[in-house]
């Protein structure tokens, strides 16, 4: 389980300040904010725009371009399943169907109880140990239906 700090404007401002002198600072700032708070709030977009002398629309455009950046807090557990070809060849599609059914959500969704978010990922570089997943930041290779089922059961309990 990953826990994030509640959004705090002062802490957010410090993070922006710490990175804003970097060349091309937008991505480093966004990564650092998301690592702290779990997502990128609207207020952070305004603050980044001000700090980097960009328009809010520009920063918003950056945030929405990249799949990594979330606009909402994820569930308490984040399950990322690899959907790419090498994992498909070892049964990733079936695992994905199982997960979506068991959780009752589609890609990018979070269960109603806020416990689990399911995200797709396209290759983790574990293609020689497929199928692969990331469960709360921990890499898992040779994922089996049994392991997936027990992971989901554990996350939901």
């Amino acid at each position: 389980m990953t826990t994030f700090a509640a959004w705090d404007e002062k802490q957010g401002a410090e993070i922006i300040e710490a990175h804003k002198a970097l060349q091309g600072a937008a991505l480093p700032i966004l990564h650092a904010l998301q690592a702290a708070f779990g997502f990128i709030p609207d207020r952070a977009i305004e603050m980044i725009a001000l700090a980097l002398n960009l328009s809010r629309a520009e920063v918003h455009g950056v945030v929405t371009f990249y799949h990594d950046f979330r606009r909402e807090l994820p569930g308490r557990h984040v399950l990322k399943l690899c959907r790419a070809e090498a994992c498909q060849s070892m049964g990733a599609d079936q695992l994905a169907d199982t997960a979506r059914q068991a959780l009752g959500i589609d890609w990018g969704g979070t269960t109603a109880d806020g416990r689990v978010t399911l995200e797709p990922v396209f290759c983790l570089g574990l293609c020689a140990c497929a199928p692969a997943a990331v469960i709360d930041g921990k890499l898992v290779g040779r994922l089996t239906p049994t392991l997936l089922a027990s992971t989901i059961a554990e996350a939901r309990s």
Binding site: G24, P28, F65, D68, E85, L126, A128, G137, R142
Partner: protein
């Protein structure tokens, strides 16, 4: 001699339990050195025990096997002998991966002891012009996908006017079936740094970035630590290694966009913007990062360079076939028995790689399709397995080598579904700049859905063909432009999968 144990900290090994095995060894009071992976991935977690007769390997290990292995030694059933005697290793020619798996990735002393910095020392001694000349002579072509001659790109950067020049290492490695960049960053990060410094010397660039995809947090951490150590030991910075040269570099992390592996999109991303592809010209070599002359190179291209300088370009170019010279770290992935990293000179056939080296499928079923070169690479049937691993030979068969990932599928694969996925992936990852790619890929998914549903199949096959032609000719970059390869190759080689009338789900 006190016992020493080696266990990889490579992500693939960790993903199948290497940390737990290491903890079990440490619990017995035996020191563990964490290394990179040798790339015998089906044997991960692999463990080596150093004895007076050398390092003996065991795998795949579980924590429960640890005490048995430590007691029984080479008599244990998991013992595979010495790693260099294993047929999978013995038949390779490891230049890029010479040290990976062997050394502590973050020990600069071990890096030197195993041949590291030999190339850089030569470059410092012979100077910029001769270094550039050596890379041109070697015939090295970029390993990121396009196969462009590295030396020629560097010459363009060297000749470009600019107060500041950059070396950008492309570690976005988004292609499914590829993990060579990840393995070398995690297992031998100083080799990446050495390659970048030599690129800096050859081009006159003093500043570098390595752009690593966010899906590789372990590689990011190892590279950051290696850079800090290299700075502390004056391998990076001004007067590096006591020479007149200056070079320093930093890590930047991507954010989950496949298109950011395309070099101009990568530069946009490094500048802090949306990763939208730039039209070329101007070339990045003239007008690259922040408008300055920039060499963008793949990780493996850069790590190929030190051995070219250390052993001479003639030695390097004596390996390989045709215009595909030197060695290529091939990644055997997906449904293949002996999955892993296999570095050899160009020229082996796809069949030798998949069947002889790879042992066929992991499931034991017949091989039906092989995709080489990632999501934009063609699907080859059995009948094309005689294609030699060579840029031109693959092009001639409608395929591409790309970053040299091979993904094997058994006879349960549905090729219409694979074609659909290729379009879906393009729709998800399109940067949005051109209509044929942005809209065409969405249309492509719809059309394939109709075909899979048995709905006016002939008309929709014709439509799919037209759509692919439009995408090929009307796309700015190879995402929209090459996605027709997997789609059309599936259709061409496996037409039966598009003709089965399906029942509605």
């Amino acid at each position: 001699m006190s016992m020493r144990v080696f266990i990889p900290m490579d992500s693939a090994a960790v993903a199948v339990g290497a940390d737990e095995v290491a903890a079990a060894v440490a619990k017995q009071g035996i020191p563990v050195t964490r290394t990179g992976s040798y790339g015998l991935c089906w044997l991960e977690p692999l463990m080596e025990v150093e004895t007076s007769e050398g390092r003996f390997a065991y795998g795949p290990m579980t924590p429960d096997d640890v005490s048995g292995v430590l007691e029984a030694g080479t008599r244990h059933k998991l013992c595979i002998g010495k790693i260099d005697d294993h047929p999978f290793m013995r038949s390779q020619k490891r230049l890029v991966f010479a040290r990976c798996g062997r050394i502590d990735p973050l020990s600069l002393a071990e890096y030197r002891a195993y041949g590291g910095l030999r190339g850089l020392n030569v470059a410092v001694k012979i100077g910029a012009d001769a270094t550039l000349e050596a890379v041109i002579t070697s015939g090295l072509r970029g390993r990121g996908g396009a196969g462009f001659p590295t030396g020629i790109k560097w010459r363009t950067v060297k000749e470009a006017k600019g107060d500041i020049k950059y070396i950008v290492c492309n570690a976005d490695e988004g292609d499914s079936g590829t993990f060579a960049d990840r393995m070398i960053m995690e297992g031998d990060p100083f080799a990446v740094i050495e390659g970048m410094i030599i690129a800096g010397i050859a081009t006159g660039a003093q500043r570098g970035y390595i752009y690593i995809r966010s899906e590789y947090p372990a590689a990011v951490a190892v590279m950051q630590q290696a850079i800090a150590r290299a700075r502390a030991e004056k391998l990076l910075g001004s007067n590096l290694l006591g020479s007149e040269y200056v070079f320093d570099m930093d890590v930047r992390v991507g954010a989950g966009a496949y298109i950011c592996g395309e070099e101009t999109s990568l530069l946009e991303s490094l500048e802090g913007r949306r990763g939208q592809v730039r039209a070329k010209p101007p070339l990045p070599a003239h007008h690259g990062l922040f408008g300055k002359p920039t060499a963008v190179n793949n990780v493996i291209s850069l790590v190929s360079v030190p051995s070219i300088l250390a052993d001479g370009p003639e030695t390097y170019k004596s390996l390989g076939v045709g215009r595909s010279l030197g060695t290529i770290p091939i990644q055997l992935a997906g449904n293949i028995k002996y999955a892993g990293l296999y570095e050899v000179p160009f020229g082996m056939t796809l069949g030798q790689l998949v069947m002889d080296v790879g042992g066929g499928t992991a499931t034991g079923r017949p091989v039906r399709a092989v995709q080489v070169g990632g999501p934009l690479g063609a699907y080859f049937p059995q009948s094309l397995l005689d294609t030699p691993f060579d840029y031109e030979a693959f092009t001639a068969k409608g395929g591409l080598i790309g970053h040299a990932g091979i993904v094997v599928f058994d006879d349960t694969v549905d090729m219409a579904r694979q074609a659909r996925f290729a379009m879906e992936f393009c729709a998800i990852e399109s940067c949005g700049k051109c209509t044929p790619c942005r809209i065409g890929s969405v249309r492509g998914v719809e059309v394939i859905d109709k075909i899979m549903g048995g709905n006016a199949v002939d008309d929709h096959l014709k439509l799919l063909d037209d759509l692919c032609s439009t995408m090929k000719s009307g796309s700015l970059c190879a995402l929209g432009g090459f996605v027709p390869f997997p789609v059309m190759s599936a259709l061409q080689h496996f037409p039966e999968d598009f003709r089965k009338r399906r029942l509605a789900a």
